[in-house]
């Protein structure tokens, strides 16, 4: 079946299986209030959601979290996704998956593994993750993925402490046998907002990183796909956040709430529906939250008459809310936004602070830069 109206069919589904996670990365963009384990959707409900997603036109499912491996029934969930015909991507820290479990995941039809690394230097990586020994275990996991002939992407979230090593990230990914590396800039939603001052890179750091990537990209052509984009706060035009609101993909939170984007819960006044109560088709077509900023009718000036409106769809609603105080405003990442200068000034001011003590989720006090919190 397909959507009867002219609504585009979504391509991707981000399935947040759990908010539980052994790491405590300061750039975590999950909300401050996490879903409880007791409220997590069970595997049977996920299986139903995957069937509905495939029928709706979704081609790829990204199993995420939190750490999806915290779910004991992860193999069943992967099997259900693949049975529904979805391309199945596991987004993981690698912690909690040994060789036997990985083999089980592969046997269930897992297509691809995306592993996060916090840095290329073990000590720094462990400090960022707030977990001693994590980096070494992650490297071992990466080798296991490649040994078992699963496709591997290395994901690196970059910020002030590690952005100077983007080239080394790429070299590490290639040496591990990854097929793709994704250099993603920290985004300041949820928990990450608390650490913005400690995370924000300087414009010079960002420019340097972009330059480094351009100069090595050709060396890896055909060997390693390198994805990296300019961060919003130092760009001139906004990105088509999520490919446009409720246009190409959707998110399901651990408790079943369907969101047009990962951070949409920060926008007040939106009514979210749950997959516990409604079918995914119903949600995609009729959920008030999905309707709120779909297409271009909701736009004001300068977006409404902008020739880029169907290319960037006005950028990111959550960022508009955070800086302009209004989710329907132009994304301040756009130079046409009256808040553009303020956003950049704020980023530069954050980046110039000496403060780099992180606030770790679930830990009482900020950890000094030199100490590695132990769990």
């Amino acid at each position: 079946m397909s959507a009867p109206q002219k609504l585009p069919a979504p391509l991707g589904l981000l399935a947040e299986l759990t908010h539980r996670c052994p790491l405590a990365c300061p750039y975590c963009s999950n909300p401050l209030a996490l879903d409880d384990r007791a409220d997590e959707l069970d595997a049977a409900t996920w299986a139903r959601v995957f069937e509905e997603a495939a029928a709706l036109g979704v081609l790829q499912v990204h199993l995420s979290g939190g750490e999806p491996a915290s779910r004991r029934d992860l193999i069943d969930i992967v099997a259900a996704a693949r049975q529904a015909g979805l391309y199945t991507n596991l987004i993981t820290s690698g912690l909690g998956i040994d060789a036997a479990r990985l083999a089980g995941l592969k046997q269930s039809g897992l297509d691809h593994v995306q592993l996060s690394l916090q840095d290329v230097d073990a000590q720094s990586a462990d400090r960022i993750a707030g977990y001693r020994g994590a980096h070494t275990r992650k490297l071992a996991f990466a080798r296991m993925v490649v040994e078992q002939q699963l496709a591997l992407t290395i994901n690196a979230v970059v910020h002030r402490a590690n952005i100077g090593r983007v080239t080394a990230f790429v070299e590490t990914a290639a040496a591990l046998g990854a097929g793709r590396v994704e250099i993603a800039h920290a985004q300041y939603y949820g928990w990450a907002l608390r650490n913005r001052k400690a995370l924000m890179p300087t414009p010079a750091q960002v420019a340097r990183a972009m330059q480094e990537m351009e100069s090595i990209r050709a060396d890896y052509a055909g060997r390693l796909v390198i994805d990296m984009v300019v961060p919003d706060y130092y760009g001139r035009r906004p990105k088509a956040c999520m490919g446009g609101w409720a246009r190409r993909s959707l998110n399901i939170a651990p408790s079943g709430q369907a969101l047009p984007c990962h951070a949409a819960g920060t926008i007040p006044g939106l009514e979210f529906w749950s997959v516990r109560d409604r079918s995914l088709v119903d949600i995609w077509q009729n959920s008030p939250a999905f309707q709120a900023f779909r297409g271009t009718d909701w736009m004001r000036e300068p977006c409404r008459t902008c020739e880029m409106r169907e290319i960037d769809f006005g950028g990111c609603r959550c960022q508009a809310l955070a800086f302009a105080g209004d989710a329907a405003a132009t994304d301040p990442a756009c130079e046409l936004s009256p808040h553009h200068t303020m956003m950049r000034t704020l980023a530069e001011s954050d980046a110039s602070t000496a403060d780099h003590e992180y606030q770790y989720r679930g830990r009482a006090a900020a950890a000094p830069a030199t100490a590695i919190p132990v769990r």
Binding site: G57, H112, Q149, G222, R223
Partner: protein, 91 residues
């Protein structure tokens, strides 16, 4: 981006598979964070990229399938595969 060459015995890269999308009524190539819609003869080529057939064999089979001269086909097949090698969807 340097020019890529089509492999002698092409196959889909790890983590890449060809999928028939019923919603859009089209063959799509699915890979890590990638969805590539295939048009016309592309899916006929990609279905044959199994790592056992040589490029020459693939061209032969397509020449029969389309009742066309293999010299007309070979260039297109090479170009398409080279482009997909650059995207690391074919190895």
């Amino acid at each position: 981006m340097p020019e890529m060459a089509a492999p002698d015995r092409p196959r889909l890269a790890p983590g890449v598979r060809l999928h028939f999308d019923r919603t859009r009524d089209a063959w799509v190539l699915l890979g890590p964070e990638r969805v590539v819609e295939t048009e016309g003869p592309a899916s006929d080529i990609l279905r044959r990229c199994d790592g056992t057939r040589t490029l020459a064999q693939i061209v032969d089979e397509l020449a029969v399938l389309y009742t066309a001269d293999r010299s007309e086909i070979e260039g297109d097949v090479r170009d398409m595969l080279a482009e997909l090698v650059g995207k690391r969807m074919v190895v």
